[in-house]
Symmetry: C2
Subunit: 305 residues, 2 copies
């Protein structure tokens, strides 16, 4: 049996886990990130969490194969640094992998949290029986991950899966620094809530309300849901024609309402792809609930095998 | 030195080549496909071409590592068959790989011609110094290929790179069986020629005329060129956000006119991708002129290494 350490490095909390190659967890240490104290402070905290893990199952840290870190935002996986770190000020270009490698002498890898979640699903979750997986998470934002033979395709600068910035509706809604008509501005949970509030005011608190009101017959919300299904199925079709994954794995807050739209999404997606692909790319719902640290632990596993 | 056999199986001609691992060619046999005689006839012809190769450089066929076939249209790379074969009637589901493997006892692979051309560029051509390549060819149609670590990502049903059917302009022009507003209907050479003829009648014979007239100040053609640059840069940005390739390799008939639009395309593409990717994904022009059979020969090389 092989053992790995996974670290879920978030803006609020940081969590360190010892897991085996099947994703089973043996020991966990967590605490607030306190990133306002700077990256050296956070890095020391991670080191202490690793030292506090109960590693008796593998005879101590020398029985661990490697360390993986999941972090928010784009990452340069080759240099082992974060490129942007809006939720972790000071972590841009900070050599976090290098520091842990120096301290523990273990191979150490970093990737962004959507990639890490996608890897967990591909190795242990919904996509584990498929050679290639495209993972898409749709909640506040929209992110993705492409996994080939249980390895992440992170891309040249760690931006593979940054599908939230794909152009879905040329000249469409401009959200923040994204392209006009970008996926995230058109079909994210944030976009659904924005459109819902515009139409129904305080009746809509979050995306789920839009689906509920549409199902109850509200025409304005039905139009928003139709735009969502049309846009999401185009996103799926465009990714499918780019890499033809063996399956899609879908998750994120918006999919809490999946009962309202899953069947229609599947139908619409299949109508937008080449005949030879139709009904050959299953849409699967994600299986692993809390996949940040587990997925991070899969990073060294997917690189060292 | 390792040696491979590559077969460029087209609707008109079939061509068989003996090449080494550096793409150098040692012997070639070619002839008309005569596909009207059916797949068994064509398969026998391929077998005779292979037997007619001068394989003295590697001491006969036993010195060859494997055989690769490039074919038009989508291919099931795992089953070794063509899924659609509009230019090679009767080849749908025909076990061409199996027949050659049985005859010669060599590992035999098949993929579609855009994939094979992209592989040649990634292994020997413009993209050879980059870990991942996305190849795009834009002529009559638009096709692509994704190569990771010198291996093709063919996808679940061989449709990776079928980017001609990606939706670029929702509700746009409907060409044949493709999606309304698909890439091929909006920005292929065929689309440029169609739009040019609509605007300028017989003054436009092919896509190149549109670029020439635009450069001479024709406003209708300038509008068509602007739509092309806008659409092609969106295609590049969408693929970039999906897989973040280390480079793009671009080719095909439309790029004969690249002097008219290359700089603007590069600028527009960079304006549509995340800041962290900007100027990190070079657009490269393809280097290998006649890459069908050479690329096919790279198929076993990329699978057997």
């Amino acid at each position: 049996m092989k053992y790995y350490i996974g670290i879920d490095l978030g803006g609020t909390n940081v969590r360190t886990l010892l897991v085996d190659e099947h994703g089973e967890s043996y020991s966990e240490v967590k605490g607030p990130t306190e990133c306002e104290n700077g990256p050296d402070y956070v890095c020391d905290k991670i080191i202490k969490q690793i030292e506090s893990l109960d590693t008796s199952v593998c005879g101590g840290l020398q029985g661990v194969e490697g360390i993986g870190i999941g972090a928010p935002g784009p990452v340069d996986t080759e240099l082992g640094i974060m490129i942007m770190a809006s939720n972790l000020p000071g972590f841009e270009n900070y050599p976090v992998c290098h520091k842990l490698k120096e301290k523990f002498g273990l191979p150490t890898f970093i990737d962004n949290d959507a990639n890490v979640a996608g890897l967990a699903e591909a190795v242990l979750g919904a996509g584990k029986d498929y050679r290639t997986n495209y993972f898409i998470t749709c909640s506040t934002g929209v992110g993705g991950a492409f996994v080939v033979d249980k390895k992440l395709v992170s891309g040249g600068r760690g931006h593979a899966g940054e599908i939230g910035n794909m152009i879905l509706v040329p000249g469409g809604y401009k959200q923040g620094a994204l392209n006009p008509g970008a996926v995230e501005g058109e079909i994210s949970g944030t976009a659904l809530t924005r459109k819902g509030k515009e139409a129904k005011g305080d009746l809509v608190k979050h995306a789920g309300d839009v689906f509920k009101l549409a199902a109850e017959g509200d025409e304005a919300c039905q139009k928003i849901v139709e735009e969502f299904i049309d846009g999401f199925s185009t996103l799926l079709a465009n990714v499918a024609h780019t890499v033809d994954p063996h399956c899609f794995v879908l998750g994120g807050g918006v999919f809490k309402s999946k009962a309202y739209f899953w069947d229609e999404l599947e139908k619409r997606f299949n109508s937008k792809i080449h005949v030879g692909m139709r009904n050959h790319i299953p849409l699967l719902f994600k299986e692993i609930d809390d996949c940040g640290a587990i997925g991070a632990a899969m990073l060294p596993m997917s690189q060292l095998d």
